[in-house]
Structure formats: structure tokens, C-alpha cells
């Protein structure tokens, strides 16, 4: 017999709203990658689509699981399972990238894996925190926001890749909310440093223009200081 859970209207409202926002941002992101003035690399487009596809399905799965949890607390086992399922999605993405060499060149596979490498610890930590402290409905909304920020970060990172590696234009680094909120205390702005180092290996040079993709102003001095430690320089006049 098919299970049915009544009196879950609040969760359903919350999850529907969260998914609605997620899908709107997804559509907006897809519109960005097809803009002709951006010259987004074709392989980079496929990576964006793949990431959105896998995590869309993961969010629907999460919605179903948390709907079944209802108002009860999420058990530790379920928390562990949910975090592991997220890790599994990352593995699936990397497996697909590796298996289709004709679509995904080695450089973009390495770049994506690099982004995954510095993103996963932050994501796992945040997911665990949400699952432990929040109710199911609130947890799901926060999970959706987290995945949305991560995918937006992936979009800007691949935008950097397209410009710096594929198009070999004047290199820049994107400063996004992801960088600001999930910086490592011991290694601040880790994501920017890792990407800059990758681009340096791709012979883009060591001087980058900083582009602000945060919702407001940011402290560029800290960023510049952190980057300078790794022999990564910024163009002061291009700070936005």
C-alpha cells in the first residue's frame, strides 16, 4: 500500500517555495551560460548542466525523505545517510566527467574536481549542522539555499575558467558569497587561492582582476593580502 502523510502542509509549502526559488535561479544560470557576449566554454556549459541536474534530483530526494520525517527529529543515521548521499552525488558527477573524455577535456575535469575538493568539506559541515539543529521543513529550505549558493559558485568558477583558460583573455577572479561565507579560518579565501593557483598552472599569469559577485561591498584588502601570500596579485584598478 502506498504511504500517505497528512497534516504536512507547512512542509509542503516551505519545500515548494524553496524548490521554486531554486528552479528560478537555475533558469537564470542557464540563461547566463548561453549569452553570446560571455563566450562560455561548451564543456563548461555541460559541467553546469550536469551539476544542476544531479543536485536537482538530490533535492527532490531530500524533499521526499524529510517529508516522511515530518515533525520528528532527524536521526543521526539519517543525517549520516543524507550527508553520504551528497558525497555520492559528487562522486557521480566526477565519474561522468571522467568517463566522457570527448565532452569534458582533462583540464575542465581537473578544474571541477578541484572545486569539489575545496567545496565538499564546507558543504558537509554545513549540511550536518542543518540536519542536527533544524526541523525538517526548515532544514530542507536551508539545504536548498546551500545547494543554490554552491551551484552559483560553480557557475562563476567556470566563468573564470572559460575566460582565463579557454579564451585566454585578461584573467579575473570572482568574489562571491560562497567565498565570503565559507572561508577557512586558517586559510581564508581558500577557494580563490586554489583557483588562482590552477590558473597560474594554466599559464594565465599571476595577476588577476577581482570581480565582485557578492550582494554588497567586500573587504578587498583581506582578499588581496591572502592572495599575495601565494604570489597571486590583483589589479588594483580593476577592483569592482
Amino acid at each position: 500500500m502506498i504511504a500517505y502523510h497528512k497534516n504536512n502542509i507547512l512542509f509542503r509549502i516551505a519545500s515548494a517555495d524553496a524548490i521554486s526559488k531554486f528552479k528560478s535561479i537555475q533558469a537564470h544560470s542557464f540563461a547566463q551560460v548561453v549569452r553570446t557576449d560571455i563566450s562560455f566554454d561548451a564543456a563548461a556549459k555541460e559541467v553546469v548542466l550536469l551539476e544542476y541536474d544531479r543536485f536537482s534530483q538530490w533535492l527532490y530526494k531530500m524533499e521526499r525523505i524529510l517529508l516522511n520525517v515530518g515533525d520528528a527529529a532527524i536521526s543521526r543515521q539519517l543525517q549520516h545517510a543524507l550527508v553520504e548521499s551528497f558525497r555520492e552525488e559528487i562522486n557521480v558527477i566526477e565519474t561522468v566527467l571522467t568517463a566522457h573524455e570527448s565532452t569534458f577535456p582533462a583540464t575542465i575535469v581537473d578544474f571541477t574536481k578541484m572545486v569539489h575538493a575545496y567545496s565538499q568539506p564546507m558543504l558537509h559541515a554545513k549540511l550536518s549542522e542543518m540536519l542536527q539543529s533544524d526541523s525538517a521543513s526548515k532544514c530542507f529550505g536551508n539545504m536548498v539555499d546551500l545547494i543554490t549558493d554552491y551551484l552559483q559558485h560553480m557557475l562563476t568558477s567556470l566563468h573564470e575558467y572559460s575566460n582565463n583558460v579557454v579564451n585566454a583573455s585578461c584573467p579575473f577572479l570572482c568574489v562571491s558569497s560562497w567565498c565570503m561565507h565559507f572561508k577557512d579560518d586558517e586559510m581564508p579565501f581558500l577557494s580563490m587561492i586554489r583557483r588562482a593557483q590552477f590558473f597560474k598552472k594554466m599559464n594565465t599569469g599571476s595577476t588577476f582582476t577581482l570581480k565582485n559577485y557578492t550582494s554588497g561591498d567586500f573587504d578587498s584588502a583581506n582578499i588581496v593580502s591572502a592572495l599575495n601570500k601565494f604570489d597571486i596579485h590583483t589589479r588594483t584598478e580593476a577592483l569592482e
Partner: protein, 224 residues
């Protein structure tokens, strides 16, 4: 007694020599038989006829001679009539044969006449055919002459047409060269224009989409 010469005359005139000789032989044989019978009946004693004699026992009386002569005459008449009848039969047969011959001759003549008529008809037909052949040959010669004239006229017309076509072709080639020179530029301009239009259309669609989703995309990233 004049009947026999008349009969002989008639036979001579109407019969062929061979037939007349045969008839004479028959008459002679018949006469000989008659005479011998007469002589026998009359009991004429002669060395010549002694072999015919029959031994008689009594002398001949006059009455007997008259009777014998009368008998002889009667026999002669009878034989004569028989001869006449035979001759008439022969004549009739001869006339009948001659009639048949005449009929055959008439038939042959008729056949020959028909052949002659057919031959005349064939000759006439042959003459007609020959005449028609001559007419056809005359017409053919006339047509050939006409055809030659027509062909000459057609050739002239074709030559002038070819000349005009060559001129037109040369003009077309010039036009084609000009168009080839101009069309790529036009094509290029048109292509660029089409590309710009499609780009503009896509950008318009994207802008429309962005405007529509702005409410829910406060945190969405717009690349630059």
C-alpha cells in the same frame, strides 16, 4: 446412181484425206462384197470367179435370173441404203467431232483472248506504275530542291540565332561575374545581419526571461 458420186464428193469436201481414204476403203469393201454376192447369186461362171462357184445341180432359168437380178438390185439398194446410213453416221460422227473440235477451239481462243486481255491489263498497270514512279521522282527532285532551299534558309536562321545567343551568353557571363563579385559581399552582409538579428532575438528572449524571473532571483548571479 448419181447418189454415190455426190456422196463421194460431199465426203471429199468434208473429210480429211485420211478419213476420205478410210471411207473409200469401206465403200470398196462393201462393193466387193456386194458384187461377189451378186456374182454368186447369178452363178456367173468364169475362171476368175470359179473359186466362188458352188456346185449346182440344175440349169439357170430366166425367171431365176430375173429374180436373182431383182434380188441383187434389192440387195444393192439395201446395201446402198445401209452404206448411206453408215456414211451418214460417219458424217454425223465426223461433224460431231468437228463440232467438238470447234468448241475446243472456241474455248482455246476465248482463253487466249482472256490471257491477251490480262496481259493488256498488266501492261497498262505497269505503264501506270512507271508513270507514277516518274511522277514521284519528279516530286522528290522538286522537294529536294525545296528542302535544300529550306535547309539553307534554316541554316542561316540558326546561324543568326547562334550569334545572338553567343552575344547573350557573353552578356550573361559579364553579369554573372558582376553578381559573383557583388553577391559574396551581399551574402556576407546578409549573413552578418541575420546573425545579428538572431543574436538580438536571443538576447531579447534572455532579457525577457531575466525580467520574468527577477522576483525569485535576488541571489542569482548575472555574469559579466
Amino acid at each position: 446412181m448419181d447418189i454415190l458420186p455426190d456422196l463421194l464428193k460431199q465426203l471429199a469436201s468434208s473429210l480429211s484425206p485420211t478419213e476420205f481414204v478410210v471411207v473409200l476403203c469401206i465403200i470398196a469393201a462393201t462393193s466387193f462384197v456386194v458384187v461377189s454376192y451378186i456374182m454368186k447369186n447369178v452363178r456367173a461362171k468364169s475362171g476368175m470367179w470359179s473359186f466362188l462357184d458352188e456346185p449346182e445341180d440344175e440349169p439357170v432359168e430366166l425367171k431365176d435370173v430375173k429374180d436373182a437380178v431383182q434380188q441383187l438390185v434389192d440387195d444393192n439398194s439395201k446395201q446402198h441404203s445401209e452404206l448411206t446410213a453408215a456414211s451418214r453416221q460417219i458424217l454425223a460422227a465426223i461433224q460431231e467431232a468437228r463440232a467438238e473440235d470447234r468448241e475446243r477451239m472456241d474455248a482455246v481462243i476465248k482463253y487466249l483472248e482472256e490471257i491477251s486481255a490480262l496481259e493488256n491489263l498488266l501492261m497498262s498497270t505497269k505503264k501506270d506504275i512507271l508513270k507514277q514512279i516518274e511522277d514521284l521522282q519528279h516530286q522528290s527532285r522538286t522537294h529536294e530542291t525545296h528542302d535544300l532551299q529550306t535547309h539553307a534558309a534554316m541554316r542561316q536562321s540558326l546561324e543568326s540565332t547562334l550569334g545572338a545567343l553567343s552575344k547573350i551568353n557573353a552578356q550573361l557571363e559579364k553579369v554573372d561575374e558582376y553578381v559573383k563579385a557583388v553577391v559574396p559581399e551581399f551574402k556576407q552582409a546578409h549573413r552578418e545581419l541575420s546573425k545579428d538579428i538572431s543574436t538580438l532575438s536571443r538576447d531579447v528572449a534572455l532579457v525577457e526571461r531575466s525580467v520574468q524571473s527577477q522576483i525569485n532571483t535576488v541571489n542569482a548571479v548575472t555574469l559579466r
